[in-house]
């Protein structure tokens, strides 16, 4: 097991290098292919009507004039060994793992990420709890009452939930629940450590909105999985043993039906922690998704790289946890 985890972590490191290298490539090579010169790139950071001297200064400061491998090498070195940052006045130390400094705000990218991660994590965890409970319950009930009015209504709502973009449902719920009816306060994130009640009440709407999308998906997946599982031979065996139906459904059916969901959940959750861009945007939550979106819009390469790296790390970690959990849940995996 240990060897397995170590192997997975090593491949994760390789994966992250590839991801950052690709991000680097997209940032520099794609504009170049589209005919954007380094001057044009520098002009993005140089304010209104920059003179050629100003562009040269910007290029030098952001190292845009250096060869790509050199820039990438520095990026990697900073993560491993730290780096220092020239504010102009003095050198500021940035200890490893250093993700560099924002082109736009000159703040350390790692600080920005760590500052925002709790927001996204709060959003993701809360929504995940809701969508797993609601989605799985509805999915199970739908499967057990297949073809009933409940099943059909639930699946219709679920279809809507899957089809409607979070941006739409988010703005709609804001417009009505917060602004028109005043049922909930505006979404203003408060840290959990500061005031748990305010934390929860500020996030309840984003949770529900985000959970709606996923709950719909999970309800459909659970239903399908449950229908399949309840047709399995071992369920028939469990019934043949004379087990009460409730035991059959929960102990024998649900556990097997939910196991494949674990993989999907791991991926979904990992991706979400990397930034729920649309939800954060809709609710003005300052999480990692917003950070990466701003980074992309403002060509803030270090920020984009940092968030991409962080997101990749989380996806990899989430998958690792899922794989380990899989071994716990499914003995066949453990023994192979």
């Amino acid at each position: 097991m240990i060897a397995f985890i170590v192997r997975r972590l090593l491949s994760a490191v390789v994966l992250m290098f590839i991801i950052t290298a690709v991000t680097f490539g997209i940032f520099f090579l794609v504009p170049k292919a589209a005919g954007v010169s380094e001057d044009d790139l520098a002009a993005r950071f140089a304010g209104k009507s920059p003179t050629p001297e100003a562009l040269a200064q910007v290029k030098e400061r952001l190292s845009l004039d250096e060869p790509l491998p050199v820039q990438y090498g520095r990026f990697v070195k900073a993560i491993v060994a730290g780096d220092s940052y020239d504010t102009g006045v003095s050198e500021v130390e940035c200890s490893a793992p250093c993700l560099g400094y924002s082109f736009r705000t000159s703040t350390p990218v790692l600080d920005e990420i760590l500052d925002r991660a709790p927001v996204t994590l709060s959003l993701a965890v809360g929504a995940a709890v809701i969508w797993v409970i609601v989605g799985v319950s509805i999915g199970v009930l739908s499967a057990l009452r297949r073809g009933s009015l409940f099943d059909r209504a639930a699946m219709a709502v679920a279809l809507a939930g899957v089809s409607l973009p979070v941006f739409f449902t988010g703005l709609l719920s804001l417009a009505f629940i917060v602004h028109a009816w005043g049922l909930l306060p505006s979404v203003d994130y408060k840290p959990l450590t500061q005031d748990p009640a305010a934390w929860a009440s500020s996030l309840i709407l984003p949770w529900i909105t985000l959970a709606f999308l996923y709950a719909a998906m999970y309800a459909r997946l659970t239903r399908a999985g449950m229908l399949e599982t309840m047709n399995e031979d071992y369920i028939r065996t469990a019934r043949a043993k004379g087990l009460p139906e409730r035991t059959v459904v929960t102990k024998h059916g649900l556990r097997a039906a939910l196991t494949p969901l674990l993989t999907i959940f791991g991926l979904d959750f990992g991706l979400l922690v990397g930034g729920a861009v649309l939800t954060e945007r809709a609710f003005s939550l300052k999480g990692l998704g917003q950070l990466s979106l701003d980074g992309v819009i403002q060509s803030d390469l270090p920020v984009v790289l940092g968030v991409v790296l962080f997101a990749a790390l989380f996806v990899v970690l989430a998958n690792l946890v899922v794989d380990v959990l899989y071994g716990v849940v499914d003995p066949r995996v453990r023994h192979s």
Binding site: D39, D40, A46, G47, A54, R61, T87, V89, K286, I297
Partner: protein, 586 residues
Amino acid sequence: MKSPKVWTAMTAGAVVLSLGLSACGGGDDGDGEGGSAATKFDAGSNGIVNPSDKKGGVLRMGMSDDFDSTDPGDTYYAFGNNFVRLYSRTLMTYTSKPGADSNKPSPDLAEAAGVPSDGNKTWTFKLKKGLKYEDGSEIKAEHIKYAVARTYDRGVLSHGPAYFPQLLDAGDYKGPYKNKNLDDFKGIETPDDYTVVFKLKDPFPEFNELVTFSGQTAPVPPDKDKGAQYRLHPLSSGPYKWEGDYQPKKGGVLVRNENWDASTDPNRKALPDRIEITAGLEANEVDNRLLNGQLHVDLPGSGVQDAARQKILTDPKLKANADNPYAGFHWYVPISTVNIPNVECRKAIVYAADRDAMWRAYGGDVGGERSTSIQPPIIAGRQKGTDLYTSTAAGYKGDVNKAKEALQACGQPNGFSTTMVYRSDRPKEKAVAEALEQSLGKAGIKLTLKGYPAGTYTAEQFGSPSFVKKEKIGLGTYGWAADWPTGYGYLQAISDGKAIVPAGNSNPSELDDPEINKMWNDVVKLDDAAQREAIYNQIDQKIREKAAILPNVYAKSLLYRPQTLANVYFHAGFGMYDYANLGVTG
């Protein structure tokens, strides 16, 4: 200051009017306290709404994006320059008055306006004495010299205006980060702690206006400078200071600076006790919070989004809390003099353009006014001008016959083909491009439309002469606002041949006309503002004669002021409300 009586009379009139309105609208919430809150539509464009001297309360400001920088030396946006006045004082600042008066420079740190000598090449400012920073230390002339010197390093402070390096006679000085010895900076002399002398390469008559518009003369003590990171907590010289640091893309809080002396500062009322800034809100969320009073000010000051606009214009009660001033922008269409070198061909474009559709693309009356000059009405001394090649008779729909005549004269009787670019994420600009595609098509001028993202448009596509040439771009949508509200502030960057730069070019017409260039060279030698204004109007006329720009609309913004916002007025210098003088009630 106008006498209070005048304002009382005006508000009384407003009360009557708004009562009339709300009678139609059906019911009024009733604004119990004072009764002076009732206002009418556009009242803030020319007068003070909810005049107040009452201190206290929390002013909440929000925005969907963020400042380019909170460092007074590094911000270029008008709203940034407006905002930094809360914690930075500069040599000169705008007068805090509603209406056209606000365009005038008013001494801030300086005792009086700068005094020119040596034929407008030397400008001397005397500082008030006893002015202090938030830490209690004294503001000295050398700190202003240092602040200006910083702006030379475009690598560290890349956002702000670059006028000082262009104008000051400082050789090839590279800024204090590369050269620590401030004595090497010859552009400014500080003979004593209270005198700042600017040395210019060439005569520049509008130097007072120049130091007024930006925060770049806000003093920075060298030992407090943190370079690129100074923006997180610029040392305050104004009525407020940052509580902790500003958090980019998130926001921050301003609290009172006890070391600010109100008696030295006639330009800032500083009414609220605390100002909370939230960045990164979803754009419609900003409007929603504005409408329900959770936010007082939408910082960028460019007006509400379409959804809120509909809501406000259709609800008389909401509309009474909105203003519709000239935003300072002129949305126009530069025509490339490089790709369409023949003036007759450019004239054909202007003749054929359906100005009516172009105007409606910006939302009709509330969105703006059909323009007749290049300079928008907000510019001091601007003359209304005339539509040279636009036929008003046909309802501004364009004149195909005239266009065809011009094409004949151009030697292209069957028309020609060219490319038009626009910002793909701006529906209004797309609509303008489509209107032109259609109306020019009638005259035989075929347009190929290409959209580019707004984020790179002015730097890399329309703002890049090499790109314009390579893609054979003939015209594109564009907008421009003055750095300071004079003809120089508006027109120089968009019509002077010297202003053409390889990236982020603000003269996409690439107008490099010897006649106009000469006028720019000469106008700076004139001491008299009225004489200069006459030249600016001539340049304006020339640009239109040469059909280098197809005028479109003077933008009007729809600003919303919640009822709890006090002492609100539109400030022509910034093109939005005056942030240093707002108050809150309730």
